[in-house]
């Protein structure tokens, strides 16, 4: 199986965003909006953190 770190991070972010979006809001429209914001924050934050770490070699 070929699995990339980015791909798995996106799948993980998707599951967590769906559950938290549904948990934290009552109206489907608000759930979708909040879930999408969370998903963007997770993925964007992950990529930004990845680039920050790029400048700190092991």
């Amino acid at each position: 199986m070929r699995a990339s770190h980015l791909g798995l991070m996106i799948v993980f972010a998707l599951f967590v965003s769906v559950v938290f979006g549904t948990l934290m809001r009552d109206e489907p429209k608000e759930q979708l909006r909040f879930g999408a914001q969370l998903f963007a924050a997770f993925v964007g934050g992950g990529i930004a953190l990845g680039w920050v770490l790029y400048f700190f070699p092991l």
Binding site: L8, V11, F12, F15, V16, V19, T22, L23
Partner: protein, 131 residues
Amino acid sequence: MRATTADREQSATYTYLICLAAWAIPGAGHLLLGRLQKGLTFLIALLLMFLFGLWLEGRLFPVAVTQPLVALAALADMGIGVAFFIARAAGAGAGRVTALTYEYGNAFLIVAGLMNLLVVLDAYDTAQGRK
């Protein structure tokens, strides 16, 4: 009219049964409370996440009292409810440490269990009429 002691006891029992159902089957608490959309979303998303964790060769940790961190991970895994015990009985979740996706699998399994515990708390609040 004030609720009698018997009414309150019946209500408390009902709330605990909702919580038990919510823990055993993700989303069942919300389904029993008539929140179909939320219940179905939790059922599908949490079980899929759990299965994805197993597919990624994550481990369902045993309750090992001598290893507190392993025991905590086991409690988090058990948060998903009956699915944990079915998977263990079926021999799934042995975990392959050398697999590239082992740690990812663990993260999926543990977070699915922990999120289901949050769903149980939400079902409790809903059953209490707070939401």
